[in-house]
């Protein structure tokens, strides 16, 4: 057996929610511990390294702001991939994944907006400017809320999943716009300084805590996501059990 077909078989094995729950139960504690450790390292690094000579202590806001902004985009990408999984492969866990990711992504986007605005006040002298990066991230936040609203508006989870998958895929147009908005337009927000073709232009003094926090945030996202998916599966099971119980209860009173 070659490697790709093994990977595909492993992946479709997960289509069984019970297998996924078993895997989640095994992986989740490790993920959580790893997240806590990474956060400890990241926070220690970000509070012990020196402040910027111009920005002073406020530069530490970056260690929360930048990872949550990255995560807000990555979460939407995860949702878009899950949407593809729902529409193309009809993977039963894909819609659970997309539905579970939406509130987490909305929280990260909100965190990025709030910390950015807290950082903008001392640095730019204003809480908010309508420049390209800020506006497109705000639009991303609105789209997260729209997807959540749509998910909650329909009762049947299978149908709402497929319909909102279409919406998520259409909204994916926004992600490249956010990524390249600082390059395409002249904005107040600074251009990319970490992931560049010619290497990061940011000083290693700031790069290390930033990277540690980015890893910690990514792990946090994955542990939250797995936990949320597990909860969603349980919620669906409880709903179907309740429906069954209600049906049986009606039958017993009718036929004594």
């Amino acid at each position: 057996m070659n490697e790709t077909s093994l990977a595909i078989r492993k992946f479709s094995d997960l289509a069984n929610p019970t297998r996924f729950l078993a895997l989640a139960a095994r992986v989740l504690p490790w993920l959580a511990v790893l997240t806590v450790v990474c956060f400890a390292i990241g926070l220690w690094l970000s509070f012990t390294t020196e402040g910027d000579y111009q920005q002073g202590e406020t530069v530490r806001i970056m260690y929360v702001h930048v990872p949550s902004a990255w995560l807000s985009m990555m979460c939407y990408t995860v949702m878009a991939i899950s949407a593809l999984g729902t529409l193309v492969w009809r993977h039963p866990l894909a819609d659970v994944s997309a539905k579970a990711a939406a509130p987490i992504g909305a929280s990260f986007t909100f965190l990025a907006l709030v910390t950015g605005s807290l950082w903008g006040k001392p640095m730019w002298g204003t809480w908010w400017v309508w420049d390209a990066r800020l506006t497109s991230v705000f639009v991303l936040f609105l789209m997260y809320l729209g997807v959540i609203a749509l998910n909650r508006a329909m009762e049947d989870p299978a149908r709402s999943a497929r319909v909102s998958a279409v919406l998520v895929l259409v909204g994916f147009v926004n992600i490249p716009i956010i990524k390249f908005s600082v390059d395409w337009w002249n904005t107040l927000h600074q251009p990319a300084s970490v992931f560049r073709l010619d290497g990061p232009t940011i000083d290693p003094e700031f790069l290390w805590p930033l990277m540690a926090m980015a890893i910690a945030f990514t792990l946090l996202f994955f542990s939250l996501h797995v936990a949320a998916m597990r909860n969603e599966i349980w919620r669906r099971r409880v709903t179907s059990l309740r429906r069954q119980a209600a049906r049986n209860a009606g039958r017993e009173t009718l036929a004594p």
């Binding site: 506006t135 639009v139 609105l142 809320l145 329909m154 149908r159 279409v166 259409v170 909204g171």
Partner: protein
């Protein structure tokens, strides 16, 4: 397909259609603005194009939830779904019919409202041109929202919430093209070209996504 186009157009224009309601709403929104910002003619002339664009955006959102809802209620949506012609084409034709019934009147009405806003001829012409190029994009984006929300009992508000974020680029480039035309140094053509590119882009993406959403919400 041509028959479908004229059928939709007639349904929209005749009694109970509500195509003219959009224009009325557009006029009302524009008329309310001077009460809000004060009757300063210079200020109105400066923000006029933006007001016309926002009014047109809101007005074209207004009728979107009816794009597929009426068909669903009388059952003809199922017939459209079962037709041999690709659903993609059907959705595209329905969008163009919807735009001719609701978007085109907005474009025609905009010069007169521009006069109210004390805009000069150049600004009125630029606004009209950008509206003509940009409002189809809003309809095509809206088709996705309408198709997504077609099965919901009260989808109207949800359609607006879903569609507005996606329509932001249209608004940005439409208004920047108008201001580029008014203010000398900036060239008019680049933002206008981008606006047309957005319209063409969504003319493809919109019907594809709307057709997929309709198929999935039908069963």
């Amino acid at each position: 397909m041509i028959a479908l186009f004229f059928r939709d157009l007639k349904l929209a224009v005749r009694a109970g259609g509500g195509a003219m309601l959009g224009v009325l709403f557009f006029m009302t929104v524009v008329a309310v603005i001077p009460f809000g910002v004060g009757p300063d003619l210079n200020l109105l002339a400066r923000i006029g194009p933006a007001i016309l664009w926002i009014g047109a955006l809101l007005a074209s959102l207004l009728g979107l939830d009816r794009l597929f809802q009426a068909e669903r209620e009388d059952g003809s949506l199922d017939l459209l779904l079962m037709q041999e012609t690709p659903l993609l084409l059907t959705v595209f034709v329905k969008c163009t019919a919807h735009w001719s019934a609701t978007g085109l009147p907005l474009v025609v009405a905009s010069p007169f409202l521009g006069l109210f806003m004390n805009m000069n001829e150049l600004a009125i012409g630029a606004t009209m041109a950008t509206l003509l190029a940009g409002t189809p994009a809003i309809t095509f984006i809206g088709a996705v929202g309408a198709a997504v929300a077609v099965a919901l009992p009260r989808g109207g508000l949800l359609v607006s919430i879903l569609v507005l974020p996606l329509a932001v680029p249209v608004l940005i480039f439409g208004i920047s093209a108008v201001y580029a035309a008014i203010e000398d140094p900036a060239p008019f053509l680049p933002p206008f070209m981008i606006l047309m590119a957005i319209t063409l882009f969504f003319a493809v993406i919109g019907p594809v996504a709307a057709a997929a959403a309709l198929r999935h919400s039908a069963d």
